[in-house]
């Protein structure tokens, strides 16, 4: 095992070497030459500055693992509207821990490239974990993350199903000097204006959804459209509304009204009825989870999909799809376009390896949330192994700019400037002829990474990562 930077044993070696240099020079002092004087002076200066040198570089990072195990903190919604998604995330994390520790069939450890992990733990330590319940509430999520860091000694926090929660927990982790590997969070802000040095996101974002969806929307619905947005009134909703507007307006679409709806509104009838006579011919539902299920179900009940407006069939678009959530919408999801980070039906080696492991373990396919969480856990562990340390500064360095493949999304890069993963994006449609109960989404396009990339300093997206010694 490589020595840890700043560990007491390393300090000891260093002192020995300095002492040796000093004693040799002192022995030769009687026959002092100019060269000897200089060597002695340099050695003396080094010795004198040694304590400060060590204080600067040998800070004891938060929760440095001491025994034979290292603890990961899985912060997922275990109660509330996203509890099923949280349960799937937790399943994925358990599987990741098994694979990292060398149990099971190894899953994506067999396909990820490059891979420093060997299936014997991380840096010689077995991985253990603790869990927290975000309740999909920022304050509860911060409290559970804090508990895992301060009481359970978690070296890293990961998980979640909401951008509001992700941004709140990411900020806390940055303050605490703990790496946060975000779960399902789709708002641009997570790696945009709210980006943090200690936060990393594998999941895609609304900018990428907009870029990937626009060409398909143009192909299917044309350029002469008027869109009406119903938007969940929080960071993710605003972000998605902005991105979809940006890309559809670039197609020539006009944006009619954009109405903000309260999170968890339940009955959306009062927001849907104004759409009927608004002159719009496309309804964009910037909703996720239960809100998406309810607004989509009710939109269909109000006959929107049967309407003809401006001489065209009325269309509904759900920019962020989740198979797990799509189940709740039943037949209403059929034929609706959206985007997704990953789908179990992908046929690349990484996806097949993960679906096989997950399916064998739990008896059903993983969700996109499970996939991103599993990948995040493996990426973190691999970065620690490559860095030879759990010191977050070393791990951050190993993750920044890291390029990898074989994990279900083609070649991927963790961009150094904003800690956002760049990879292919899937455009999907609600499957009209499902072959099974899990076959709800049909992949209609794999949009290559090059088409969804953007500048980290683009207007409205730039932020300040901060430094890695915030703790």
């Amino acid at each position: 095992m490589a020595p840890e930077t700043g560990f007491p044993c390393e300090q000891f070696y260093y002192h020995e070497e300095v002492d040796k240099v000093m004693s040799d020079d002192i022995k030769n002092f009687s026959t002092l030459s100019r060269r000897g004087f200089l060597k002695t002076s340099v050695a003396g200066a080094m010795a004198a500055s040694a304590p400060a040198f060590f204080v600067n570089n040998a800070y004891a990072y938060t929760n440095a693992p001491k025994g034979s195990t290292v603890t990961f903190g899985f912060n997922v919604p275990q109660t509330g509207a996203y509890a099923d998604e949280g349960a799937d995330e937790l399943r994925a994390y358990r599987l990741a821990v098994k694979h990292i520790n060398g149990e099971g069939d190894g899953g994506m450890l067999n396909t990820m490239r490059p891979a420093a992990l060997k299936g014997d733990g991380v840096n010689g330590k077995k991985v253990d974990f603790v869990t927290g319940d975000t309740q999909t509430k920022s304050d509860a999520a911060r409290a559970s993350a804090k508990r895992m860091i301060e009481k359970d000694g978690a070296i890293m926090i990961t998980g979640g199903s909401s951008s509001g929660v992700a941004i709140a927990v990411q900020s806390l982790c940055h303050e605490q000097g703990i790496i946060f590997m975000a779960g399902l969070t789709h708002s641009n802000d997570t790696t945009g204006k709210d980006r943090r040095k200690y936060g990393f996101r594998h999941f895609f974002n609304t900018e990428m959804s907009g870029a990937a969806l626009a060409p398909i929307l143009e192909k299917e619905f044309g350029n002469d459209r008027v869109a009406y947005h119903l938007t969940a009134d929080y960071t993710w909703g605003w972000s998605q509304e902005g991105s979809i507007k940006k890309y559809t307006e670039a197609l020539g679409w006009k944006t009619g009204d954009a109405v903000r709806t309260p999170l968890g509104a339940g009955d959306f009838s009062q927001y849907i009825t104004p759409v009927l006579n608004s002159g719009a011919d496309v309804l964009v539902l910037n909703h996720y989870g239960k809100d998406m299920v309810n607004s989509l179900t009710q939109s269909v009940q109000f006959g929107l999909r049967d309407k003809q407006v401006n001489g065209q069939d009325f269309q509904i678009v759900v920019p962020l799809f989740s198979r797990l959530m799509a189940q709740g919408a039943g037949d209403n999801i059929k034929g609706i376009y959206g985007s997704t980070n990953w789908n179990w039906s992908l046929q690349d080696e990484g996806s097949k390896a993960f679906v096989k492991s997950f399916g064998a373990e739990y008896g059903f396919p993983p969700s996109q949330a499970a996939h991103t969480c599993y990948v995040q856990a493996l990426l973190y562990a691999d970065a620690c192994q490559r860095a030879g340390t759990f010191d977050p500064c070393g791990v951050i360095e190993a993750l920044e700019g890291h390029k990898f493949d074989g994990m279900g999304n083609g070649p991927v890069e963790y961009r150094q400037e904003d800690h956002q993963c760049f990879k292919d994006v899937l455009v999907v449609r609600g499957n009209e002829q499902p072959a099974s109960q899990f076959d709800l989404l049909k992949v209609v396009e794999v949009t290559p990474r090059s088409k969804v990339e953007y500048s980290p300093t683009m207007d409205g997206y730039s932020g300040n990562l901060g430094s890695c010694q915030a703790a």
């Binding site: 509207a81 009955d267 009062q270 006579n277 189940q327 709740g328 096989k356 739990y362 076959d439």
Partner: protein, 333 residues
């Protein structure tokens, strides 16, 4: 004009659900003196009666998808369709209306069990104890449902024949573009029918007369040799049935999930407070009033003048009513 008509319909529809839940709440409070925080859970249980009936009717023959090797995926065909063809499919299609006939006895039994098994032991306890025990019960019921059905909403569609929208605009001479979902109109009619039936039961039957007398003066009715306790137990069961039916019929509008009861409970308490604690007519009137106000507050024209008003209007009205008329719109001193 179109928008106003539609928002009135939306408000009446929403108000129907509020009124049904609030009616049961205030009935229990008026008779037993208990503020039942588990009442929303009864609404949710009613919705899950619908889910359960649908699940039973769609028990299926599973044909394994052989192309999937990592886990078992099936193409499912309900046995009812296999056995009875189109008739079987039609029975499945009518799962929600069929559920009404199942929900009545099931919810009555649940209500009686809840009152006899737990709540009656808290009649003479502090208000805080009653609130804690009923709130705790609501959480227990929620978690049991979540453990069995998961946390995601479950689709329970209306019968195909009423799944679309009715051309209400044509009916009132406002144009064919003005439509409103059939099921929502059915729900409104259903809510009005149930409310009417409850009022008729309380006003035109001997049982109802005794219950109303007991609500006024429990002690005197008891002194007359009438077992008012037993009648109040039945009233609790009746309130459970009303809440359950409200939930059962609401499932095509709102795919049910384990938390839906809690979402409605808070609003229903506001409805009861605005209507007047213990006032049945007040609960119904306030339910419809607040439903309509909430719908109008959500109009873009209104929100452009008062941003965010749609999210606070109900509570704003409650604050004003409590300040101006603390006993509620139709409550008694």
């Amino acid at each position: 004009m179109d928008a106003i008509l539609i928002q009135i319909l939306n408000g009446l529809d929403k108000g129907g659900a509020y009124a049904l839940i609030a009616l049961g709440l205030t009935l229990v409070f008026g008779t037993l003196g208990v503020v039942n925080f588990a009442h929303g859970a009864l609404f949710m249980l009613g919705a899950f009666v619908s889910v359960t009936v649908q699940n039973i009717l769609t028990i299926s023959r599973k044909v394994k998808d052989e192309s999937i090797t990592f886990f078992d995926a099936y193409k499912e065909t309900p046995y009812l369709e296999i056995w009875w063809g189109d008739t079987g499919a039609m029975i499945i299609d009518y799962a929600v209306p069929i559920s009404i006939f199942v929900a009545i006895p099931v919810m009555l039994l649940i209500g009686l069990a809840m009152e006899r098994g737990l709540i009656r032991f808290f009649y003479k306890r502090e208000d805080a104890d009653q609130i804690l025990v009923t709130f705790g019960l609501a959480i227990v019921i929620q978690e049991i449902v979540k453990a069995n059905y998961g946390a995601n909403p479950i689709p329970t569609p209306a019968p195909e024949v009423v799944a679309g929208s009715a051309p209400v605009g044509s009916w009132v001479g406002l144009g064919a573009d003005l439509v409103y979902p059939w099921w929502r109109m059915i729900y409104l009619s259903f809510a009005l029918t149930v409310i009417g039936a409850v009022f008729a039961f309380l006003h035109y039957t001997t049982f109802g007369m005794v219950v109303r007398a007991g609500m006024h003066d429990r002690e005197t009715v008891g002194l007359l040799g009438i077992n008012i306790e037993r009648r109040f137990t039945i009233v609790f069961g009746l309130a459970a049935v009303v809440a359950g039916l409200a939930g059962t019929m609401y499932t095509p509008i709102l795919p049910p999930d384990y938390h839906m009861g809690m979402d409605f409970l808070v609003l229903s308490f506001v409805v009861v407070v605005v209507g007047g604690m213990g006032s049945l007519a007040g609960a119904v009137a306030a339910g419809f009033l607040l439903g309509i106000l909430q719908s109008f507050a959500s109009m873009n024209e209104v929100k452009s003048i008062f941003p965010g008003i749609d999210q606070i209007i109900i509570y704003l009205v409650a604050v004003v009513v409590l300040l101006v008329r603390p006993r509620g719109l139709m409550g008694k001193d």
